[in-house]
Symmetry: C2
Subunit: 331 residues, 2 copies
Amino acid sequence: MTEPRYDVIAIGNAIVDVMAPCEDSLIQELGLTRGGMELVDADRADALYRAMGPAREISGGSAANTLAGLSALGARCAFIGQVADDQLGEVFAHDIRASGIDFDTPSRPGQPPTARCLIFVTPDGQRTMNTFLGASQFLAQDRLDEDAVAGGSILYLEGYLWDPEEPRAAMRRAIEAARAAGRKVAFTLSDPFVISRHGDDFRRLIDAGQIDILFANHLELAALTGTDDFQAGLDSLSPKVPVLVVTRGEHGASAIARGERADVAAEPVERVIDTTGAGDLFAAGFLFGHVRGESLERCLRLGAIAAAEIISHYGARPEADLQALVADKLG
Amino acid sequence: MTEPRYDVIAIGNAIVDVMAPCEDSLIQELGLTRGGMELVDADRADALYRAMGPAREISGGSAANTLAGLSALGARCAFIGQVADDQLGEVFAHDIRASGIDFDTPSRPGQPPTARCLIFVTPDGQRTMNTFLGASQFLAQDRLDEDAVAGGSILYLEGYLWDPEEPRAAMRRAIEAARAAGRKVAFTLSDPFVISRHGDDFRRLIDAGQIDILFANHLELAALTGTDDFQAGLDSLSPKVPVLVVTRGEHGASAIARGERADVAAEPVERVIDTTGAGDLFAAGFLFGHVRGESLERCLRLGAIAAAEIISHYGARPEADLQALVADKLG
């Protein structure tokens, strides 16, 4: 087994977030589900954009955000995802490369355009996401660089991308390539709606021992295990994955690894501005600790610190010096 | 003279700002002038973008920023400026319309793309701007809607746009249309480099009594009048314009109107994050007071409050509720 080139290589949606504050009333008027993520077509995206206030554009995408956090912490990372050959695609590619992450997936000519996520942020900092997947869903399995996948100590996959057919096939091949190379596979369940559509796939992967590190929030845990009881959910899932990490927003997070359990409180935040990317950055901190061989509790603490940074400002890419933050808080 | 439809109608560059924090050392490495604005061609823009860290995109443009402030304060506004038919053009158009500003200039098909300004923000909050003008410099004089111009109580023009030929001709025609309709013409000198290239034009306009309200900062005042002495500069320029407003960054601002002078200190700011748009928002506050018939001192205070808001966050479009801020500070 050769030395890995990357600590983490991820496959995910290549999305630019379009973010604006809004009042709670607008969420109702537009018929949105507060705090949720919905896939929208081009017409719905146009209608929502017209209803949105002045916005700002910041690169996003769940797994890409996680890599941005990992890279900021000092990990070596690579990203695989599909942008179109357009201005938002250039923005995404620039931002991820400027974060120190290798990104070699060629842009896709023609329509549809690069994916965007219209994010309405209510005064409590909650984000309501509406994703137009565009080019991102056309990540072709024959474009997958299996050598690159095999060169990552951990392959990280986002559940969101399980929905479209081509990327799902690419991810299945990537899992095989990673496991054949003796690497670990980490997976985030992303959202309850993904589980409602592909829960059987996920359960099969887990039962077959294909997932080494599984990330979920408490809602996704409930959706996957079919129980609202947090402890019962943990008990049923944890024997099937070597490392299980479950976040619970302001109630902290828990992890179970081969029978050992650790829990952390949420890191205090002066004011929650925008929760977009909280789970993504929690995963970043946890994975950073994991690749460095840290204790389970310290991995969770790293996750909590990275998540606290991201929710204290707009956008799901870190702004503060994460390494300095960690040094300050963990020594 | 018919009742004006708009408090302020502005002609300006239609720009999306691409902003990233950077260390002071990068400004030197890239050979940039700290705090300045430079026009760059496509190749230089690409090179600077490659050197820039992860960025965010926020609509900008000097006069457009001023209108966004005016609209947020409650003024009725319209904007004239040229975007291309591309994604950044859509972003600009969305943001200005979502700010409640009428914007009817059709987008321009084909190359070049929509203007962007690469803004490096150093830890002290200073911004160093590099503008690729793209489509913005092709605002065609024959596209100018003279009826709309005549329908604004004040026509506001940015000096930046005096540089390219077509928009300069459009602005000259707009000045004539506004004056023929008995409206006021406000002009911002924008930057010392513009004065170095077009100072003679500006002095001729001023001497001919074409400018009713003139905005400058102390550096532009010096460049236009040829003296570094602030008082001497004011003394030489103020007799030639009915209202002269000169900002001096953290040292406050002064205005002279028909012999009456008022001065204000800068509004205290907890922490300066990004000075982009400080002058633009000062002009917004001042003009808002002016169209409401407020006292010279109160106009300056409104300018100082709007400028303080804009420098306390990234981007040159207001984020806080400016009306609430003003009510809180001025009653």
